[in-house]
Subunit: 431 residues, 2 copies
């Protein structure tokens, strides 16, 4: 017997089907149960192997009225009018959500990859069917950056977004800042459940990149294909880089950024030197931080827990309530823009050499040849001469230009390993 035959359907009531009963999904179910929001009722919970979920501790205390199912058709053919998707991945979730929207169900999702790659089409489809597609939880989890830009900064023109969007990288880098070894911290993060067994998506920048593309589309109306945004891994950052960074009054964070001057779009993701005086340096542990820069309003900074079951569930449930209150979802730009790598910034170059006379002269020659001016040369005492790490910083110049010089320098016979090239963020402006 269909449950809607038992309970008369209230017209303005939102009947909610939850896809996925993992970390976020179970937290969403409990938050809805605990808060008993008016006009919202959880009707279905879908997951593969549903008996295992329904029998688990996380299921206890939830309302007995809920239909638990492992058949997605039970949800897609139900009278639920909102689908919350907290399963993850492009398939089969993309197909499910397409069907849900096409049949007039609102969709709330925390799925960053899906929204980064297909958000524009899905938002079009939602619009055509008179329903909402909302995805605040997909970026910065519990930090309401997307609601804030959609509702509080739409009077501005956002020109730049820079963010610490991956909590795992922030945990690793801020622990390295405190002296820990990369591999030890990664193992610790994996043990604590912050990092996946395969850390690629986090440390190589793909996760942050997806979130950056969602932010660019939502806050700047700039469509970006994630694959077009260059990423740099944090795997090559060493403890010695934190020591040199400290000498330069900086630390190192994984920063994702996008800039628009109206014509050109620049974007990238990677480890970056951030000044100690910048909020980026103050972000520790698994925190996320986003700074938006508007043409009129200037800088606004948001920070908090970027992940975790409960913070993410708050974002999902807030989206659900926005849908219940009839707030329309944004229409995202469909056209992807070309992405330039031509950031103009100071750069940090770390070399490891077999120390011989003439090295500095060769390096400065290579930089001069591409027109990059050296700002400082730093060599800390105490390193062996036969594997000497030292650092050169440049005045602001284009990244691709320095890359050329670094390529040339990398071929020099005294170089013991690939030089490390990082962008440096400038000092924040004073008030």
């Amino acid at each position: 017997m269909n449950e809607s035959a038992v309970k008369p359907v209230k017209t303005d009531e939102k009947r909610v089907a939850l896809l996925g009963f993992g970390t976020v999904g179970s937290a969403v179910a409990h938050l809805l149960h605990d808060q008993k929001f008016e006009g919202v009722r959880l009707t279905h919970i879908y997951n593969r192997g549903i008996a295992r979920k329904q029998g688990s501790d996380r299921a206890s205390g939830l309302s007995g009225d809920i239909v638990w199912t492992e058949n997605i058709e039970d949800v897609l053919n139900s009278d639920a009018n909102v689908v919350i998707e907290v399963v993850g991945g492009l398939h089969p979730t993309g197909e499910w959500l397409t069907r849900a929207l096409a049949s007039g169900k609102h969709v709330v999702t925390a799925n960053k990859q899906l929204i980064a790659y297909h958000g524009a089409e899905l938002s079009q489809l939602a619009r055509q069917n008179g329903v909402s597609l909302v995805y605040n939880a997909a970026v910065a989890g519990g930090v309401p950056v997307i609601p804030a830009v959609l509702h509080g900064l739409q009077g501005d023109r956002v020109r730049q977004i820079a963010g610490i969007l991956n909590g795992t990288c922030n945990f690793i880098l801020s622990q390295m800042e405190a002296g820990a070894d990369y591999h030890d911290v990664l193992a610790k993060a994996q043990a604590a459940g912050y990092a996946e067994a395969d850390p690629t998506a986090d440390v190589d920048g793909f996760d942050a990149r997806a979130k950056l593309c969602i932010l660019a589309r939502t806050a700047m109306q700039v469509g970006l294909n994630p694959d077009a945004v260059p990423v740099q891994t944090i795997r090559n950052v060493r403890l010695v880089d934190f020591h040199y960074a400290r000498d330069l009054n900086c630390t190192i964070r994984q920063v994702a950024r996008v800039e628009s001057d109206g014509d050109t779009i620049r974007a990238n993701v990677g480890p970056t030197l951030v000044p100690h005086t910048s909020p980026f340096a103050w972000s520790h542990g698994t925190q996320n931080l986003v700074m938006t820069t508007g043409e009129f309003g200037g800088d606004v900074v948001f920070s908090g827990h970027g992940a975790g079951g409960n913070p993410t569930a708050v974002a999902v449930v807030s989206d659900l309530l926005a849908v219940a209150h009839g707030s329309a979802s944004p229409l995202l730009p469909v056209q992807d823009r070309a992405v330039s790598r031509e950031f103009v910034a100071p750069h940090y170059l770390r070399f490891v050499v077999q120390d011989k006379p003439g090295i500095i002269s060769a390096i400065s020659g290579a930089l001069a040849q591409v027109g990059a001016n050296i700002d400082s040369i730093v060599q800390r005492p105490g390193y062996p001469k036969d594997a000497l790490p030292f650092v050169v910083t440049t005045e602001p110049c284009s990244t691709t230009t320095v890359q050329q010089a670094v390529h040339t320098i990398g071929q020099m016979p005294t170089m013991l390993e690939e030089p490390l090239l990082l962008q440096m963020m400038r000092e924040p402006e004073g008030d």
Copy 2:
């Protein structure tokens, strides 16, 4: 001839009347002119002495279609369907906005005093008339805290809000932290236009208190009468307090805070010791910062420019666009709650004494009598014995309890001036 006779009125178009053409009002007019948002048209500008405004530089470049007037009836009787109020003060703005709402006009305002004292009634009136009342610019100017909590945290239960809500105080205190004298900085702030000739509203906490009450009502559904929230002035904070604060790994900021445990509401505004490891210590210059703590999502921090024509105009125009897109305004609680002063926190007590044997013993006796435990006694070298400032900090205990002890201590004959009692904010929790 009425202008609407000339231009056919588009039904979904928002025709906007601007009340006040000062710092914020002129920035709003230019932002609307510059950005040309679809579906929004500035039709009226009202100000007293309008000829002076219309002839000023700030008027140049604005559309020739606008009706400039110094007669409020021209606005209230017009076909404008949104009124933006950036005049300030309780009267006559309260009466104007009441009439505007009653006649079915949406209202956007930046007026913190009006919303702090009359927001609940006005929001009721708006609801009765099927229109919106929005006021994001009234709190933290360009920092979209209110949209973020309304749209991104409504799934949570916000239990605590602490904020640096007055840019003038933050400017003064952060300059004092760097060594400047209170009176010099105040004069500098007045010269730069950050502070009024009469700084009472800022330094004595009334401005921050109004904003705190708006936040409590909007984010926590807690009605507070501003007059019931205790304020402490920053005028008694000295350079020596910053030196002692530094010894305690802290600095001093004007913090406005409200807490709810479901039953009791605690709130106050005043200078507070904040740990160097807390975002409150990182906020410099005229910046604002707000931290919300949710039962489920934990801490979220927002910061940026709390004032200035352009940042505040962004907040006003974003509100206008929200109204244009049909987003409903929140219904605020009407009933005011009792406010407790019983914060439990560590406390900082600074005494200035004529140094004699037995002082410490007398002070610790007075504290022991009310059950407050001393955490540390700090006496920096280099001060004259006949006017010796020194500091006692307590373990967490209730503020009213310590106040009793401080009252007793203040009567002791060796006390050369009124002791200074400040709350200390605890270290942020690690991630």
